[in-house]
Amino acid sequence: MNDLTFAKIDQTVLDTLQPPDRSYWVTVGILFIGVLTGAACWIYQILTGIGVAGMNNPVAWGTYLINFVFWVGIAHSGTLISAILHLLRAGWRNPIARAAETMTVFAVCIAGLFPFIHLGRVWLVFYMLPVPNQRNLWQNFQSPLMFDVVAISTYLTVSSLFWFTGMLPDLAVIRDRATGLRKKIFTVISLGWTGAHEQWRHYARGYLFFAALATPLVISVHSVVSWDFALGVVPGWHTTIFAPYFVAGAIHSGLAMVLTLMIPLRKIFHYEKIITTGVLENVAKTIIFTGLIVGFAYATEFFMAWYSQNPLEMAIFKYRPTGDYAVGFWIMVVCNTIIPLLLFFKHIRTSILWLFGISILINIGMWYERFVIIISSVSRDFIPHAWGLYSPTIIEFGIMLGAFCLFFFFFLLFVKHLPSVSMTEMKEILEQGEDHVG
């Protein structure tokens, strides 16, 4: 960090926007094929009917809802890094804040797609909007699913605005050095930024207010998502710890995704001096913390099921580690709570390879967490007569592949066309030192 200068920061970041080579476009193309595969599966589902997916009675929520919760979760750490750590004046978050915030925006978009995919007749989605109509329909605002519509759309709006506001000074830097069409585009999107004192003052205040408002928002969003389950009376779903536990789990998975994205990014774009090992180490330490919260929540649920001596609660918590989805359950426990403990060892959390491996395992574990929660509880409902199992079909896997490809497709386009590290915030660290930012 010591030999960085303002010019070097600009240069390193602007270098990433140079015209890419062929391998970049090949990767983008492959991802686009993945996206098309997902789209084709969805179109097939629309034409044939929702029955092509594996959902059934009693398991009416399958991978579409799992992926929805998973992607909303991924989104959360972006706001943790850009807003909460900004309020806590943790300067180490500056080099990764932009990429994390971008991840948030794309992940919310992907998450927002899944309820649409889950709908059998997607063209009727406007029933969710409270528009005056002649059908005498009115939305059930007492339904957590309606809470979701409000929460997710607010979150998408705020995080996009926060992301764009933070990028303004950087867009102006690019505008000033660009030529031709690019200059025209960046002139428009940098909204006439000149770097005048007054603009900086408004920018700093605006950024702070966004951070302060985004913090309770991000907590409320995943709380609302958790209430899709917790407000019902299904054993294993109806539990008061769900909201904080989902928030912590979301940040846990999101931080893992940050590592998964940052490690290749810093390698490819030579960001080693900006995104230092120290930054990755701090992300790893935060992962230990969220992993412990998640572990605490798992243990509490089991303890409370036993303490309650409620036969239904006890049955579901016996079913999870030993029943039909036991493999998923153990993947979840090991990947989310035990493997992150390895990060307590310094040589592991400073090793890029270990970090990358662990981050991927946590992503898998967190996907399985949603699988275990969503599937196991409804598949063993109150009445044994109505029990049933679920497994995803090839169409669902196709759509899931499409979603992952779409996410990385967006991210790849982003890193080559917009500054993936905030030059402004890097200069702040350089100017004021890490502990005086904010």
Binding site: S223, T240, I241, Q309
Partner: protein
């Protein structure tokens, strides 16, 4: 620096000491009087609530220092020192817990109930054993952390006193350099954080939630320890303000430090309210009779419903609205009053949680002068403990200690 010693420890002034002692005697006298009187259960109820409240403040207070050390915060040095002084209440809290055993028939309504299989967990010997071990571990870790923190902060040229001499000889054997000392503080600090979460959850389940043995909420443990940190910060702000405002004491904080700790207090005010609401909404919406009876009794049935609103207003709405303002957070006089109000609110919140289970069919709130006097007794006790600590280690009252230089 040593010559400052006599000036800095104004706590040696007899007046403050005597006032605290008087409070302690009054509180103790009221408690004993209550036991002898017709309603020993009322005295035990007040004792339990105060034990929970003041222990939480001490445990949450130390947590501040531990968290600041673990996250390598650089703004909080003098505040961390003060936070460590709450450790002096740990041994007292431990003894207070043991005394609770004598009130078991009054504070555990489930002792004579049919628990339908819960007897394995809810029985007196097991309960006291596990809580005894839990508190022992928590307080032990707190002391080990403090032992290392003192190494960094004490001025070894001051050699009077038995305790200091013992510390010095212990250090000579066990601690070699500052880096190793800090590393160990990190390890024991993390263990303390873990123990804080687990042991306070346990205490919350055993001493508060089990009052209604058939009701349960998975968030209750987390709610308990978040609340403890919330009032721990409140206690810390009060202590810092009192010392800061005393012109005879060298201890001073910058407005930015008051602002920062005020923001932290504000944040945990929100977290507390969030956990309060999150439990409420899930139970309300689920509408299962086993769960809702607990809420209906506390939030909809007189006399408790008005108390519930009062608690929510003074522990959340009032501080939330006030602390939105930046300037207020930098005013120690104002902040100490606000924190005191919140701490009293949490006292009432404990009453709200345990009261209905201990006072069936109460027509009015079981709240009287005796409760207030016992509260003051505990206040005197924790003040004496903190004063004793700060007298023993006057370095903690300096603006800066060795570590920060």
């Amino acid at each position: 620096m040593i010559s400052n010693h006599n000036n800095t420890s104004v706590f040696q002034k007899k007046r403050v000491f005597l006032i605290c002692l008087a409070l302690l005697v009054i509180g103790f006298g009221t408690f004993v009087f209550g036991l002898m009187g017709g309603h020993p259960e009322r005295a035990w109820q007040a004792y339990l609530i105060n034990f929970l409240l003041w222990s939480s403040i001490a445990q949450g207070g130390l947590l501040f220092s531990v968290v600041m050390h673990t996250v390598k915060a650089r703004w909080s040095g003098p505040l961390s020192n003060l936070a460590e002084s709450f450790v002096a209440f740990f041994p007292i809290s431990f003894i207070l817990f043991l005394i609770l055993f004598f009130g078991k028939n009054h504070i555990f309504p489930w002792i004579h109930q049919d628990l339908h299989g819960k007897e394995i967990w809810l029985n007196v010997p097991f309960l006291f054993t596990r809580d005894f071990v839990g508190l022992l571990v928590l307080y032990g870790l707190g002391f080990v952390y403090l032992y290392h923190a003192l190494w960094l902060k004490l001025d070894r040229s001051m050699s009077h006193g038995r305790i200091r001499k013992r510390l010095y000889s212990g250090w000579d054997r066990s601690i070699s350099d500052a880096q190793r000392c800090r590393d160990r503080m990190t390890i024991f600090g993390i263990l303390y954080i873990l123990a804080f979460a687990l042991v306070l959850s346990l205490i919350g389940y055993d001493l508060v939630m089990s009052m209604d043995p058939h009701w349960y909420s998975t968030l209750f443990g987390a709610y308990t320890f978040v609340k403890a940190f919330y009032i721990g910060l409140g206690g810390l702000i009060i202590l810092a303000s009192i010392l800061h405002l005393n012109p005879d004491i060298e201890f001073k904080l910058k407005p930015s430090q008051f602002h920062d700790v005020g923001k932290l207090f504000f944040a945990f005010c929100l977290v507390w309210a969030d956990f309060f609401y999150v439990q409420l909404v899930v139970i309300w919406y689920g509408n299962i009779p086993e769960e809702t009876t607990y809420l209906i009794e506390r939030t909809m049935t007189p006399p408790w419903n008005s108390l519930a609103w009062f608690v929510f207003i003074i522990c959340f709405i009032l501080p939330f609205v006030i602390l939105l303002n930046k300037k207020v957070k930098t005013k120690p006089q104002f902040m100490s009053i606000l924190c005191a109000v919140v701490i009293m609110g949490i006292w009432l919140e404990h009453l709200l949680l345990v009261g209905p289970a201990l006072n069936h069919h109460a027509l009015s709130l079981p709240l009287g002068l005796t409760d207030g006097l016992i509260f003051l007794g505990f206040l005197g006790l924790i003040s004496l403990a903190v004063m004793y600590f700060l007298n023993l280690f006057p370095e903690f009252l300096r603006g800066e200690t060795r570590e920060m230089k």
